[in-house]
Symmetry: C2
Subunit: 353 residues, 2 copies
DNA sequence: ATGAAAGCGCTAACAA
DNA sequence: TTGTTAGCGCTTTCAT
């Protein structure tokens, strides 16, 4: 069996309280501090966090519930969060709910039973029912990527509307007028916002928008393939397509390959997420990149803050961070403008063709 | 505060032991069972696993230490393992050590302090020093993907040598003779085995192998780019290249794009892992696919078995599973054979062109 | 600064 | 079958 504080107490002749105090930053006489440290060394003592957790009613563990670990966007965020949390002594229990509301509910309940100190969640259930019970414990919940109306928790989101508007602006400035979109599921907030930004951009530029250019899929690779095929079939005059998440971007690229369509000669494309995949495409894809590292840092930071302030901090308002995306230029957008304008674009962005 | 067993005891008028017995599958009189269940319902009682853990010296938590979460191969495995473990009541604490020995050591120690019941590890330190201390506790460690000589733990590996031999056989049968390899770091067992299989295939087919065709990189995307550029530069007569992990495969594809080389006309390629990426490439990549789901299931299964049998089971030998890979045919291999043979190949595999 | 002692919520040995 | 009790390893009053 591992050594306990009792063993140290016996070995040093000190009381339990002194040892405990030593481990919790209390004042211990220099002489005793040395004795304790020797005993620790000798007995290979390590604090038992389980026992400590029972006493302090805290496990120094946070739960993370996401729709799909096997998804670069999620994986990138988790890697970074886990790193930060571990650096502060918190373990991260990851639960992948496979984009399934039921499993998400189970995962949250599971984490509740495991007595995690808080939960970071990229929600599948957009009503947030799965969180109700956990929230009653007064422990913090941080939502990432997708918002839940009226949920009493902090959120770290992305400015999706602007992201879509920016992407569309880029197409329009390159002379495109018939731009299709492969949007996500209507119930997911990010999908709503991205489609909304797409529509707003059309309005802003005063360009008429045909319904057939809007296609909604399910954020999966297969969805991307289907969406692309449908858009191409229904819109012979379409010159470009905007794909609104990574999986569907990959799907669209697969679809393009399988249809044998040349990018950007026959069709231009702006994808979403995963710079490395974009680089691996030929020609290199222009994409909307989300600030995954920042999302992770914000979420972890807020979590640590909430954990630190304890249940009292609750009186304060709940935070909602909104981070910006960035367009990474590739060569997947054809410029349909006359020579004059082409030169101008080139000077500005350096890669828009 | 949450309800405790004491509350239930008070409410039902029963003793603590009876309640505990109820939760641990003991025999409880039907009448009392009902009373307990009512009380649970009313008080929203849930077993406190922290307290239970303190008593039983088990946290029902397993740690997973991997080099990089943001890596499809790892992510796929973890998703599946986590799912299985959670189904059995075990939480999974994931630690990403960013391919860094020091961080790996810290992660294992961290998990030790968190008192996890076992560790599943895809090791970075190939000597296994980081596991020594944890192993002393008698708790199980399952190694995945990479072996450690002389480590006293179970391993779930892949038959990498055969994987490489198979891939090379495919090239050779298609008439290739100058096939380069982008291998991984010499200290990682999978990299050794893959390069070894590559060399054995050359021997088996009696084809001379030039040193310049072997190139070792670091399993990263950039490594793949570098490796490809180097091979192409040093071997003007090379007709094909075998890339030995996913990141480097992506890198090689990037390199090919950036050099403007056409696949398979100018160069043939077999990559590794990630079917979806392979599909997204144009032309579709032929790849060696590892059985990620099976690896996960084996590892989780062995872990559950070890956890169940407790420290006594140790007398038995340590298991070493070795799983097989599979070649997924794409269109990235050019056939250099005469008409006769070409037809034959086509009939056999259906896609080797 | 240090020690004694109570108790966090549970399990398990023992007695009834 | 059920109740009583000790104790898992720690933190935290409260004295000293």
């Amino acid at each position: 069996m591992a050594a306990t504080m009792k063993d140290i107490a016996r070995k040093t002749g000190l009381g339990l309280a002194t040892i405990s105090s030593y481990f919790n930053g209390g004042n211990v006489r220099e002489k005793n501090r040395k004795k304790i440290e020797e005993a620790i060394e000798e007995l290979h003592y390590e604090v038992n966090e389980v026992a400590r957790g029972l006493k302090t009613n805290a496990t120094r563990t946070v739960g993370v519930v996401i729709p799909e670990l096997n998804n670069t966007f999620c994986a990138e965020i988790i890697t970074e969060m886990e790193d930060i949390l571990r650096g502060h002594g918190y373990a991260t229990i990851v639960c992948d709910c496979r984009t399934n509301r039921l499993l998400e509910q189970e995962a949250v309940d599971f984490l509740g039973r495991k007595r995690v100190d808080g939960i970071i969640n990229m929600p599948v259930d957009t009503e947030g029912r799965h969180l109700r019970k956990f929230l009653k414990t007064g422990k913090p919940v941080i939502l990432i990527d997708r918002k839940i109306q009226g949920a009493s928790c902090d959120s770290v989101l992305v400015n999706n509307e602007k992201a879509a508007e920016d992407a569309m602006g880029l197409f329009f400035r390159n002379g495109h007028r018939k731009v299709g979109i492969i949007g996500g599921p209507a119930e997911i907030s990010t999908a709503q916002e991205r489609v909304c930004g797409y529509q707003k951009a059309y309005e802003k530029y005063g360009i008429p928008l045909a319904d057939s250019l809007i296609c909604r899929e399910d954020y999966t690779i297969q969805g991307g393939v289907r969406g692309l095929e449908k858009l191409v079939k229904d819109n012979p005059d379409m010159t470009a397509v905007f794909v609104t998440n990574y999986e569907m971007t990959m799907g669209a690229v697969i679809g393009l390959n399988e249809l044998g369509m040349r990018v950007p000669e026959e069709i231009s494309i702006i994808g979403f997420d995963n710079l490395q995949f974009a680089r691996a495409c030929s020609p290199k894809l222009t994409i909307v990149a989300q600030p995954t590292v920042e999302i992770a840092r914000e979420a972890a930071g807020i979590m640590l803050k909430r954990l630190e302030e304890g249940p009292e901090g609750d009186t304060s308002e709940h935070l909602t961070e909104k981070l910006n995306t960035e367009i990474i230029m590739g060569k997947s957008i054809r410029c349909l403008c006359e020579g004059q304008k082409l030169l101008k674009e080139k000077k500005n962005s350096g890669a828009a063709e």
